[in-house]
């Protein structure tokens, strides 16, 4: 599904290049569940942002479903993004002014989904994740775990094929974290969603099929749990 060939990312500071990513080569098949680990500053978020098309590499090739992402026009890339990718953040990034319902509905609005369809899709999700009772609350009326759940539901609403999660459990306690991880596992198994998550926790990483270790912007080794 995803193929990265020789991806570099650097920031120019004066005459120096500060490399954040160095020669990343990576293959992610459809249906994979991959964990990305590494010390702070090793480039995990940067890599996720590039894969999520929110950021561009300084050099290298990125193929998404065999199409070269950065050769595309902005508009095409946006379409691809809308259709296939859902983002989950460490700090949940919900829109404060919108209710749970509206936050979840928002991506559908931007995709131009019809109103009746939208209603049933949101209702399905609310039902599936048992948050129907919370649908009229605003983000600040929810606990951190609940907010992250809403964030994930929002990422899932458009039925993405790929979920990019940047430390999704970073702000949660371990019980809440486990729930989220189980949810990911379930999505991966039952719906065939491809998942790429960045995490600092070995335990969470173990939910994945494979762990990639980053150090100073380079892939150090890949590790497949038993």
């Amino acid at each position: 599904m995803i193929k990265l060939n020789g991806i570099y990312k650097w920031y120019q500071s004066g005459i120096n290049r500060n490399f954040v990513l160095k020669d990343i080569n990576l293959n992610i098949e459809e249906g994979a569940f991959i964990s990305l680990m590494g010390p702070s500053g090793s480039g995990k978020s940067t890599l996720l942002n590039i894969i999520g098309m929110l950021d561009e590499p300084s050099e290298g090739e990125y193929l998404f479903l065999d199409q070269s992402v950065f050769a595309m026009k902005e508009r095409q890339r946006k379409e691809l993004y809308k259709q296939y990718i859902g983002f989950v953040f460490q700090s949940y990034h919900l829109i404060d002014e919108l209710t749970v319902y509206e936050n979840i509905e928002a991506p559908l609005l931007y995709q131009g989904v019809k109103s009746s369809e939208r209603r049933s899709m949101v209702a399905d999700m609310l039902d599936r994740f048992s948050i129907v009772g919370k649908k009229d609350l605003f983000p600040n009326q929810l606990s951190g775990g609940q907010q992250q759940l809403v964030g994930i539901v929002r990422a899932l609403i458009a039925k993405p094929k790929l979920i990019l999660a940047d430390e999704p459990t970073g702000n949660l306690n371990s019980a809440q974290g486990d729930e989220i991880m189980q949810l990911f596992q379930q999505l991966n198994r039952e719906d065939g969603v491809t998942i790429l998550q960045a995490t600092h926790s070995e335990k969470n990483a173990a939910y994945g099929h494979r762990t990639i270790h980053l150090l100073d912007g380079q892939i150090q080794h890949q590790h497949v749990p038993l």
């Binding site: 929110l54 983002f87 829109i95 609005l109």
Partner: protein, 805 residues
């Protein structure tokens, strides 16, 4: 989608109330100002627009090229209308006489003065048909109404005023105690937007020599208050009509100078706007430059308000950046976000427009009071206005919204989510500064203009008048009757409280006299010179405390011997070619009044002229009792009230039939600047509005600065900075911008005011302190605006600030 976006926008505006409030306040005041200006401009532009085919309706006007100046007049000889009508069938012409001061009496009631009485012939309604007024005739027959002598048509309003609820038709009205007219028709009240206002129409044939103080209407060369209007039939060209006028002029003119004169046609739609005829128009005249200036003013005010919005929104954008980042990561495209924020601006401008409409409705009565007009909101009920308003709102939305929306929708999602945008970019800071400078340049420019206008007004009111205006009243005499004048004099002879009593035509105001031709050996013979003669008696000098530059006043023997002596003003001696007024003493001039050839015995300082724009004319003062229509009375200080009461009772004994009219000269003079004073008030109000909107914006901007610098302030305080040091630190940037604005505004305002002043014959100079004062004023207001927040920030507890960061 649209509903959802709107819903979100409204919630977001509601959440950021103070931001929304500041934006709404600035924009709604700006829109209200523009709306009021629109209504004023619309009112002025709708003058005389209610006649059918008005492009074929003209007024006959005249132009005379004299040696010293070109004289334009809207009044023409009374036979003009008749000649045109009789000789040129393609032209419908109506002749009118405009009486600006007529005594009206109903039955045995007390008489009163009516200011706008029009004597019109039977073609009046053919030429000026008031077709735009529906159901014009409430009573009477339009075909016959003005055909016979002693017929009158009232307007609904005056009918009600004169006769109350009674039916006025068939009732008699006495005019000037000389003639009775019968009411034969009632007109619906006419629009105030007519250059020819009237409360009563009287048939032209009613005019007799008695009503006109013995003047003969059939002579050519006598204009007084005669106006001629024509309606050209279809197919008749302007050139042929003017050719006809030219022929009439040539045939009738007797004097050489008169033959050079020219009659021509002025389109009725120009009358209200052509300052050339300002002095002879029955109603006030508005220059199109004045209207342009008003519209420009409105444009600047709304621009200042838009800039507030831009500045506030771009400052605020950084607070909103995270939201933009989120929206982008859930799939919003740049276009969708751009649309979102444009829509937000549209919601704000629409609400501001509604608020502005309300504000304008509240302000309109005040504006009407200031301007003494009756501007209505009726024009906004038209479809054209609605379309215009929609376009206007869209334009404002576009100006205000595009830049903030571009900034917001252009945010990089990752950077905004990481809060790396906390500091705005360099170019946007620069732009914001430029916009603030623009705002203050405009406001300071307006302040400078206001100050210059104020100076000019003050200059005029305090200018050397050539006489003393304090404690002099003028009482008008309804008849020129020497017996009555003597009776009045003897009644007041021993009255305490009266210092001096003089009989004359009027106060020493140069355009208060009789316009006559002036001849002298020093002047070339066949070019016309003119002078204004003020007939007056010997007591005039003391009554008005005239200053003599040279010579003496008339002697009693000269007063007896009419036409023997004259006192002239400095301008007249200059016309004669003397630089030293004393040289004119003993010279003889000839005046077109009884063909008198008086000798100059004295020279006065130039008098005041009632129009701000005119040069002071040549004036000649000479005893001529046939034109004594006023008494100038100097009162001694103290107990003037009782003196005035005895003057009134003496007057009423002598003229029991007439209306007593009295005025202090100061008041009369003040009245002559009325129009300018009103315009000045309006200008002042708009300047105040513009500086107020600027300050609203400044308030908003400084709020953002304070928030952004909270931590810096804390650190500085811990390091020992003083409160005043911090206030200065926060204010410095803005004060610098205002300084720059002053530097830019000064030359621009100087240029415009120099042009404006050039129109005045007597003008103040623009001194440097005006600019200094304007700058100081702007700085002061800006400082007051920002000091509340800066001082509060500077006084805040530094430790607490640092901890919360």
């Amino acid at each position: 989608m649209l509903v959802h976006t709107l819903n979100q926008i409204i919630r977001s505006l509601w959440r950021h109330k103070s931001f929304t409030f500041i934006n709404l306040l600035g924009l709604s005041i700006g829109i209200a100002a523009v709306l009021v200006i629109f209504l004023i401009a619309h009112y002025e532009n709708s003058f005389d627009a209610f006649h059918s085919d008005s492009e074929r309706v003209y007024r006959v006007v005249s132009k005379n090229e004299r040696e010293d100046k070109v004289v334009h007049e809207a009044t023409v000889p009374y036979p003009t209308g008749r000649f045109l009508r009789e000789e040129y069938p393609g032209i419908q012409a109506t002749q009118i006489h405009f009486a600006s001061d007529m005594q009206v009496r109903i039955g045995s009631q007390a008489p009163f003065i009516e200011e706008n009485v029009v004597f019109a012939d039977s073609l009046f309604f053919n030429v000026l048909d008031f077709a735009g007024v529906e159901d014009l005739w409430l009573a009477g027959n339009p075909a016959t109404a003005l055909q016979n002598p002693q017929q009158a048509i009232l307007t609904e309003h005056s009918a009600q005023q004169y006769f109350g609820t009674e039916n006025p038709v068939g009732k008699l009205i006495s005019l000037d105690n000389k003639v009775d007219v019968e009411v034969v028709g009632i007109l619906k009240s006419l629009p105030q937007t007519s250059h020819l206002p009237f409360t009563m129409l009287v048939s032209f044939s009613t005019l007799n020599s008695d009503l006109l103080s013995g003047l003969d209407l059939n002579t050519w060369g006598f204009t007084a208050s005669g106006y001629t209007y024509v309606r050209l039939n279809e197919g008749v060209t302007l050139a042929s009509a003017e050719g006809a006028l030219q022929a009439i002029q040539q045939r009738n003119a007797t004097e050489e100078a008169d033959k050079k004169g020219k009659l021509y046609l002025q389109p009725i739609s120009d009358i209200h706007f052509d300052l050339t005829f300002e002095d002879s128009n029955p109603s006030y005249t508005v220059s199109s430059r004045y209207l342009t200036m008003l519209v420009l003013l409105g444009g600047f005010i709304i621009l200042i308000a838009c800039i507030n919005y831009i500045n506030m929104s771009t400052s605020f954008a950084f607070t909103k950046s995270k939201e933009v980042g989120i929206r982008k990561t859930i799939g919003a495209s740049k276009g969708q976000l751009f649309f979102h924020y444009m829509l937000e601006t549209l919601v704000v401008t629409l609400s501001a427009a509604l608020l502005g409409l309300g504000l304008a409705l509240l302000a309109l009565p005040i504006v009407n009071q200031i301007l003494d007009k009756s501007i209505t909101v009726a024009p906004i009920l038209s479809l054209a206005f609605l379309l215009g308003a929609v376009a206007f709102i869209l334009v404002i939305t576009f100006i205000s919204g595009v830049y903030p929306a571009l900034i917001l929708s252009g945010f990089n999602p990752i950077a905004s989510l990481k809060n790396q945008l906390a500091m705005p970019g360099k170019s946007s800071v620069l732009l914001r500064k430029a916009l603030v400078v623009f705002q203050f340049t405009t406001s300071i420019g307006m302040i400078i203009c206001t100050l210059v206008i104020a100076r000019q007004m003050e200059y005029f009111q305090n200018k050397e008048l050539g006489f003393n205006k304090e404690a002099v009243v003028e009482v008008s005499l309804p008849l020129n009757d020497s017996v009555k004048i003597e009776a009045f004099r003897s009644l007041l002879q021993n009255q305490t409280g009266i210092e001096e009593l003089s009989f004359c035509l009027g106060a020493p105001i140069s355009d208060n006299g009789l316009g006559v031709s002036l001849h002298a050996p020093q002047l070339s013979a066949n070019t016309g010179y003119s002078a204004s003669v003020i007939p007056c008696d010997r007591a005039y000098r003391d009554a008005y405390r005239m200053e003599l530059l040279a010579g003496r006043w008339f002697l009693p023997s000269e007063e007896e011997n009419i036409g023997s002596a004259v006192v002239v003003n400095r301008s007249l001696t200059k016309t004669l070619g003397y630089t030293d007024p004393a040289e004119a003493i003993g010279k003889t001039i000839q005046l077109g009044l009884n063909e008198m050839k008086p000798t100059i015995v004295g020279v006065t300082e130039d008098f005041h002229t009632s129009s701000l724009h005119d040069d002071i004319a040549s004036v000649a003062l000479t005893p001529f009792p046939y034109f004594y229509y006023a008494a100038g009375i100097r009162l001694s200080p103290g107990n003037m009230r009782s003196t005035l009461a005895s003057i009134e009772s003496a007057w009423r004994k002598v003229y029991p039939e007439n209306v007593y009219q009295v005025a202090f000269i100061d008041d009369t003079l003040a009245l002559s600047y009325e129009q300018e004073t009103r315009d000045y008030q309006l200008f002042k109000a708009f300047s105040a509005i513009s500086i107020f909107i600027c300050c609203i914006g400044l308030w908003g901007l400084i709020a953002f600065v304070v928030v952004r610098k909270t931590k810096e302030i804390g650190i500085r305080k811990v390091l020992g900075a003083t409160v005043s040091g911090i206030v200065l630190l926060l204010s410095r940037d803005f004060l610098k911008l205002i300084g720059i604005a002053l530097l830019i505004a000064s030359p621009i305002a100087w240029y415009f005011m120099d042009q404006w002043l050039a129109d005045f014959a007597y003008r103040t100079d623009i001194s440097w302190w005006i600019f200094a004062l304007a700058g100081f004023f702007a700085l002061l207001i800006a400082l007051i605006t920002i000091s509340y927040q800066t001082i509060r920030a500077a006084l805040a507890n530094p430790v607490k600030n640092l901890r919360t960061e």
